[in-house]
Symmetry: C2
Subunit: 338 residues, 2 copies
Amino acid sequence: MRTSYYRKLLAALATVTLTVAVARAQTDPLPSWNDGSAKIAIVNFVQGTTTPSGANFVPVEERIATFDQDGTLWTEHPVYTQLMYIFDRVPALVKADPKLATVEPYKTVMSRNMEAISKLTMPDLEKLAGATLSGMTLDEFHAQVGAWLAQAQDPRWHKHFTDLTYQPMKELMAYLRANGYKTYIVTGGGQDFVRTYADATYGVPPEQIVGSAGAVKYVYPNGGTPHLVKLPKMIVNDNDAGKPEAIQLLIGRRPYASVGNSTGDQQMLEYTKGGTGLRLSMIVLHDDAAREYAYGPATGLPDSKIGTFTQGLYDEAMRSGWIVISMKKDWKTIFSWE
Amino acid sequence: MRTSYYRKLLAALATVTLTVAVARAQTDPLPSWNDGSAKIAIVNFVQGTTTPSGANFVPVEERIATFDQDGTLWTEHPVYTQLMYIFDRVPALVKADPKLATVEPYKTVMSRNMEAISKLTMPDLEKLAGATLSGMTLDEFHAQVGAWLAQAQDPRWHKHFTDLTYQPMKELMAYLRANGYKTYIVTGGGQDFVRTYADATYGVPPEQIVGSAGAVKYVYPNGGTPHLVKLPKMIVNDNDAGKPEAIQLLIGRRPYASVGNSTGDQQMLEYTKGGTGLRLSMIVLHDDAAREYAYGPATGLPDSKIGTFTQGLYDEAMRSGWIVISMKKDWKTIFSWE
């Protein structure tokens, strides 16, 4: 009977659909995470905020997740990658203007004396940042950063910097996106610097990068098409309280989930957790010297100058119900090439 | 025979699919637009940038369209809606602090003498903006603006301001979105002001509003949860060259399509049209005094103080291949309630 055949066809299709759904549910979206409280908290958060009948359901358009970058999505030791870029640009500046070779702080950088370089002051670094990160068009800047990333290597593993991204965090971003979350990077690093590689590296497009931002100026070159030039003037300092403030400026919504790893992320994590309903604030603890680096309170080592995870921050995490992610215990894999 | 039946079923389904596709193709996505060069330019742009085999194909992630608001998406006469809001907030300020009633510029606003109000200087207006648009939390501000929009009416049609949005522009936004474009509002108006209603009114979410922005400050109230407070300090002036500059800050990509209506949009339209491939820059000419307002060069009237569409801008539009949208000729309907 035709009707019977049609029913069987529908039943067969339904079976296929069901099987796919079950297979999907059984595929671990976070294979690089060990079973433990961090992984459970993540899965509970995603299920809680995406179950339509649940008390903590969040409409898809409000699903915002924000991630710090340095020390949260990729390695920040021995120094921030952007700082390495700044130092590596100095020879090109000196070549273009040879008298800089005798002028500080260029002279120290050209000496390649790491001890002297590590003692450069904040005003020195700002001078170097201004000289290497501004004065060019956006297109020129992206080309310079892209060329550097394609060849530069880190001093420990001799990998490209974009290979020093944490596999578990990339899985977390993908898992959140698969559940309707828009993932943003909210970084103290340079917004235009991160925009150069974040889409290819993390799947985060330029319009979802919130970073420390220099001004740009719209200029009419002689006879040419108007374009934007980078100025040596910071207009967004995306650290500390600057993170929730920049989130308001660029996104205009309070995140439901945030991940950071230092005091520079404290206010973003507080702001996230301070919202109504189910919110997830997490902080990465660098406690794996063998596979990456160990610094911060859990290691008994003094706080690093950068990526500071202080005892006070740890205490706030405990008090406020933030999830502390132990790289050593929670991450099965740290880098994809391990 | 079962196989034959199955074939017939598939054929029937294919017919249904085809019919739907044909019906879709025949449904005009821009029913409020008259046939003419503006409508043709829009359809050609969308087809050109979304046809995968075409020379002007744009990957979906790069499809960015930016729209000015005042005079482009809704009526800006007799004064900007946000200015009406600012004036309407003054009585509440005076009630909270009665001595303001004798102090300028509050005294003039309280007089309801429109001639005197129209003569307020820019510093006066800035003082009023600071007093009415800052000092509160973001939540309080959105509540104040929302309550006002729910009751305030324009002086000519006695409609809510959100009803004075242009139906053809809403269709254009929807048409672009249906073709993978992300639509942004890029306005000289206040970013937080526009965010209050833009999602419900235009389908543009908070993170796609680029506006003139005041600073916010992350504060720890006594014993309460930290929150953001609006400060009387402008950090983004989203007018003129400030438009492409703010597009870079918030979006980080050059738009493929832009629509504006005044000299404040000139650089955004230039910047859009200055990109490679097929780009669409359009400018709304207010030439319909009967159905809306007439001002600017085509009307023979002197330029208005606000929403200035100068002869110079018109000449640049002609020279640069921008599409001039005549409200009178190109728009069948202006408002949805006509």
